[in-house]
């Protein structure tokens, strides 16, 4: 308390000089913060309460946009699709990310080769990946169904079938799990070896060691990745836009919140309505992040800090 209070007292000339120097160094951020963050944030909140066809000036509506959104079947569909995608892709990505990192952490020959292979998809431009996968999911001549035929599965139409389109997108999201693998691997390498050796001496088996030592030790990293992953999943856009020509087809089955928002703004030119959608997206992200922090409070181990 006292430290914080005294840091705000501009006691000496030196303090004032330091303040000026500090502010000068961060001045690009201050400018960007005001022009590219605060202003658009507030403006978008204001627009969300207006009728704003892009070529005319906004007219105040009150809560109408928000009320209409929850009567709009396409919006409700997009809400469902985004949630479905996030709750599918994030847990899967976390699971495979940790699993692969643990395997790589078990004194593997050719570690750097495996790591490179796992990581390559993560640096592949999203548009390129989307086009390749679009081609691979082709129900007639695509590689995915060809490979499935080897294990006796007659694959679905994937992106052509409303029931399977989201599953295809989730499968595709696992392809770029390499980024998380590298992060988890670094975290695993920081788990103290003494702890694992001590528990081996006490007779713990591998599963017990993973559950009681490894996972708690890397839990802050897991939490960080899950939060970043959820925020990204709710803004999932490029793949769908490229693979469905921006439509969210078939039958709106891949119409994500981001896609519908983009359509409202740049196809229907309803800037007010689109802003209301953006704010609901934002609130969902905030609520999910807060819930995750709450729930994880008991589960995440911060090394006694």
């Amino acid at each position: 308390m006292t430290a914080a209070a005294s840091s705000f007292r501009f006691s000496s000339r030196r303090d004032r000089k330091r303040l000026a120097t500090g502010l000068l160094f961060i001045s690009p951020w201050i400018l960007g913060f005001i022009v590219f963050r605060v202003y658009p944030f507030l403006a978008s909140l204001y627009y969300s309460f207006t009728f704003y066809p892009v070529l005319r000036s906004p007219r105040w509506l009150g809560w109408d946009n928000y009320v209409n959104l929850f009567d709009d079947p396409r919006f409700l569909t997009s809400l469902w699709n985004s949630t479905y995608y996030a709750l599918g892709a994030v847990p899967l990505g976390t699971l495979f990310g940790i699993l692969l990192a643990m395997l790589l952490n078990m004194r593997v020959r050719g570690l750097s080769a495996f790591r490179t292979i796992f990581f390559l998809p993560s640096i592949t431009p999203i548009v390129a990946a989307a086009i390749v996968w679009l081609w691979m999911f082709n129900p007639r001549s695509g590689v995915v169904n060809y490979l499935l035929s080897f294990v006796g599965i007659n694959g679905p139409a994937w992106l052509g079938d409303p029931q399977w389109a989201k599953a295809a997108l989730i499968l595709m999201s696992v392809w770029s799990v390499g980024n998380a693998v590298v992060i988890y691997l670094a975290a695993l390498q920081d788990v103290p070896r003494e702890l694992l050796e001590a528990s081996s001496l006490d007779g713990a088996n591998t599963i017990q060691k993973i559950w009681n030592i490894t996972l708690p030790m890397i839990s802050p990293v897991i939490l960080f990745n899950v939060i970043v992953g959820l925020i990204a999943a709710f803004q999932f856009f490029t793949q769908v836009h490229v693979m469905t020509d921006g439509r969210g087809s078939p039958a709106d089955s891949t119409l994500m919140m981001s896609i519908y928002l983009y359509q409202s703004a740049f196809e229907f030119f309803k800037m007010g309505y689109a802003s209301a959608q953006a704010w609901i997206l934002f609130l969902i992200i905030v609520v999910f992040t807060m819930v995750l922090f709450r729930v994880s409070g008991r589960l995440v181990y911060y090394g006694g800090r």
């Binding site: 960007g32 803004q235 490229v242």
Partner: protein, 295 residues
């Protein structure tokens, strides 16, 4: 008596026998899983290269062909001639190079202000920087679009480049962590000698921060090179499209029968990133690990 004495000696013998059996099994299954996943990660890339070298007649065949016959290298020429790939690549360079310079310049200055200068209220302001990370681009893009429209900057590269010169919270965070870890004595001595903060920043801190700056440059390069959403909303002339938008445009404008050379264009769009990755693999891996761990 002898049997009861024998059992405790037998038990470890049995379990080591089990271990002798299980360990190679565990080893094998470990590599089996790794190889299976490697195949999963590699097949799309192999398929992309393979498709880029096919004849149009080979495209719809089932079962799919992995090694085209003959190998059509000229698809890569077609991508430049038909798909105006050269223009897209050049446009992307025009956007990416200033973006990388902007990111390194601005974020290093800002991070220095947060890490190496003690000023009152600094840590509160830094908390604000971190808080802005959660703000989705989808909340701000409509007002931003309208600002750039009113500035008459639509269909130019300014909206893609200029904001980067004002810093990004993620890079500020990353560089600040790095600069905080440098020993205080480094700069204190220079300060006692009366050097200005700018001089200390340029002469002492920047040379030491090169590894972290390389991470920022690399990530910004990839970010700008791969960006789709920015070019999508700000660029309207096909002549001005960057590579991501250009390839997506090829995919929707030319149909199925042109897929081979579209894949050739796609391969070309990835090539710079792959080359960069192999030259700077350590920087990559360390950078990614850094971003996840200090969070």
């Amino acid at each position: 008596m002898t049997t009861s004495l024998d059992t405790p000696r037998d038990q470890p013998a049995v379990s080591t026998g089990e271990q002798r059996l299980l360990r190679p099994l565990g080893e094998t299954s470990k590599y089996l899983v790794l190889v299976l996943f490697s195949a999963f990660f590699l097949i799309p890339l192999v398929w992309m290269v393979s498709t880029s070298l096919k004849n149009a007649e080979e495209l719809p065949l089932y079962p799919p062909i992995w090694i085209p016959d003959p190998i059509r290298w000229d698809n890569y020429v077609t991508a430049f001639v038909e798909g105006s790939l050269g223009g897209y690549l050049w446009n992307t360079v025009v956007v990416t190079v200033p973006s990388v310079i902007g990111a390194v310049l601005s974020n290093s200055l800002i991070a220095y202000g947060f890490a190496r200068v003690q000023w009152p209220g600094r840590d509160y302001v830094f908390a604000v920087v971190l808080a802005t990370m959660i703000l989705p681009d989808f909340v701000t893009f409509i007002p931003l679009y309208l600002i750039f429209r009113d500035l008459n900057w639509l269909n130019t590269y300014y909206p893609l480049i200029l904001p980067i010169f004002l810093g990004s919270p993620f890079f500020i965070f990353l560089l600040r962590q790095f600069l905080m870890a440098l020993p205080a004595e480094l700069t204190d001595a220079a300060r006692v000698d009366g050097a200005s903060e700018l001089l200390i920043f340029l002469r002492i801190v920047i040379p030491l921060a090169t590894p972290a700056l390389a991470v920022v440059a690399l990530f910004q390069f990839i970010g700008s090179w791969n960006d789709y959403f920015g070019p999508l909303i700000y660029l309207s002339d096909v002549d001005k499209y960057t590579i991501s938008l250009g390839i997506a445009n090829m995919e929707s404008a030319y149909g199925f029968s042109n897929f081979a050379w579209i894949m050739a264009a796609t391969c070309m769009s990835i090539l710079p990133i792959i080359l960069l990755f192999f030259f700077a693999q350590r920087t990559f891996i360390e950078g990614i690990a850094l971003t996840g761990l200090k969070g």
